[in-house]
């Protein structure tokens, strides 16, 4: 099995050859072995969105229960781990809030274990934690989840491969073309330089956009620690469909 030092050397070589400012991950990133057969080899074709592409799906209160935003109360008891609040805003590329749109998250428990059949990590399952959450953004584009800080976990990309702690986020914009699935990380993780998924984003400033900030003003005394993470979706809403803005 490949050693970490070989993976790390591959990552460094790709970064050294990359131009600064690539905003998105490489799809073709060999240090992430699973990408080898799953990346398109041709450049995506530019096209103007039309029809259904201009309209994101609509979600509302019939879709999401507000209780789904608290991952610490879902399973009849207190989950084990460090209780945290993750709060932020979902914005479009013009800085406008994405209002009343669906945010879905999933994550490992404090021990680094997912509630998933295929997770073979020999770490304990927490009977009081599913790691699944949903909410709708508010009128300011704001979202918030109360949860448990996830643990790092091993995977089989190479020998001694460990994922930095992360929360998976699924997001919708105002246009279907703004659809995004990504991962939020925690500041100062020592596993960052070793992780081929995080490092598939070759630009350091772009990578930083995936790291939440610790925010002491969000922490609650004797209760939880607060993290802030804003999400910016690609592009703005197409101008010719721009709704009249009656908000002040």
């Amino acid at each position: 099995m490949t050693e970490q030092r070989e993976i790390s050397a591959e990552i460094v070589a790709i970064h050294d050859a990359a131009q600064v400012g690539e905003p998105q991950p490489r799809l073709d990133f060999p240090p992430y072995r699973s990408s080898l057969l799953r990346h398109p080899t041709k450049r995506p074709r530019p096209v103007d969105p039309e029809g259904a592409e201009l309209v994101a799906p609509v979600f509302g209160h019939s879709d999401v229960d507000p209780l789904e935003a608290d991952l610490t109360i879902q399973s009849g008891g207190e989950p084990i781990g460090e209780r945290i609040l993750v709060r932020g805003r979902v914005l479009d590329g013009d800085g406008r809030p994405v209002r009343r749109q669906l945010v879905e998250i999933w994550q490992a428990n404090a021990a680094g274990r997912y509630v998933h059949q295929r997770d073979r990590h020999p770490a304990p399952v927490d009977p009081h934690f599913t790691g699944l959450g949903r909410c709708l953004t508010d009128d300011d584009g704001g979202y918030a989840f109360t949860t448990i800080k996830p643990g790092a976990y091993p995977w089989r990309n190479h020998r001694n491969a460990w994922r930095p702690a992360h929360i998976h986020f699924s997001l919708f914009g105002t246009d279907f073309t703004q659809r995004l699935i990504t991962q939020m990380y925690f500041p100062g993780d020592p596993l960052f330089p070793l992780d081929p998924i995080y490092q598939s984003i070759t630009d350091p400033a772009a990578r930083e956009r995936l790291v939440a900030g610790y925010d002491h003003d969000l922490s609650e005394p004797e209760w939880l620690l607060g993290y802030r993470w804003d999400i910016v979706l690609t592009g703005g809403h197409a101008t010719y469909l721009e709704p009249e803005d009656h908000d002040d």
Binding site: E22, P23, Q24, P25, R26, L27, Y32, S34, S35, L37, R38, H39, P40, T41, K42, R43, P44, R45, P46, V47, D48, E50, G51, A52, E53, L54, V55, P57, V58, F59, G60, S62, D63, G93, D94, G95, L102, E104, I105, W106, H116, R118, D119, G131, L132, S170, F176, R179, L180, I181, T182, A205, A206, R209, L210, I231, V232, T234, G235, G236
Partner: protein, 184 residues
């Protein structure tokens, strides 16, 4: 002012408890009046089905109107929402029960907008599934070579359904799309 976008990351292998939900792929009840099956396989570069992919569609209704109604997560009693989500099975197969979209503008194409996610795929991919009867005169299709063009047009099944395979890589690689503002 343009804010730099948050980068995407792979959906990973562990999304199955989080994203799929009851009737996620049933935009209309299977077998209901006017319903068709849109289905196919997601293939990797070795021609193997990807068992850990997720396909989403967004579409107009049969009158050419793109619905803006809630209810996708709790289908019973909800109106047609024009959005659905299907994870692939162990063979890489996905399916939707839906209705055929009509062109949104007269004489325009009729297509399903599609997003693809998978373990091993570091960012989402966009493509379109064109209806065979409404593919003429489309600016995107007209720019493609014949094989690429054929790859974006669904084939009619004997039962009237639509078959559309997604090839992430390889000789039959699907044409994927980038939209203004997407950057890299």
């Amino acid at each position: 002012m343009t804010e730099p976008a948050t980068p995407g990351q792979t959906i990973g292998p562990f999304f199955h408890e989080a994203l799929p939900y009851a009737q996620d792929r049933e935009l209309v009840p299977p077998g209901s009046m006017g319903s068709i099956r849109l289905h196919g396989y997601v293939y990797d570069g070795a021609g193997l089905g990807a068992p850990d992919a997720l396909v989403e569609i967004r579409q107009a209704d049969p009158a050419g109107v793109v619905p803006r109604v809630e209810g996708s997560l709790h289908r019973p009693g909800a109106a047609f929402t024009g959005w659905g989500r299907s994870s692939t099975d162990r063979t890489g197969h996905y399916w939707f029960s839906t209705v055929e979209p009509a062109p949104v503008r007269p004489g325009g194409p009729a297509f399903f907008a599609v997003t693809v996610f998978a373990r091993g795929l570091l960012n989402r991919l966009f493509t379109r599934v064109y209806l065979p009867e409404h593919a003429a005169g489309d600016p995107l299709l007209d720019r493609l070579d014949p094989a690429e063009r054929a790859g974006l047009i669904a084939r009619r099944d004997d039962d009237g359904g639509l078959r559309f395979d997604i090839h992430l890589q390889g000789d039959a690689e699907t044409v994927f799309l980038t939209f203004p503002g997407h950057g890299g």
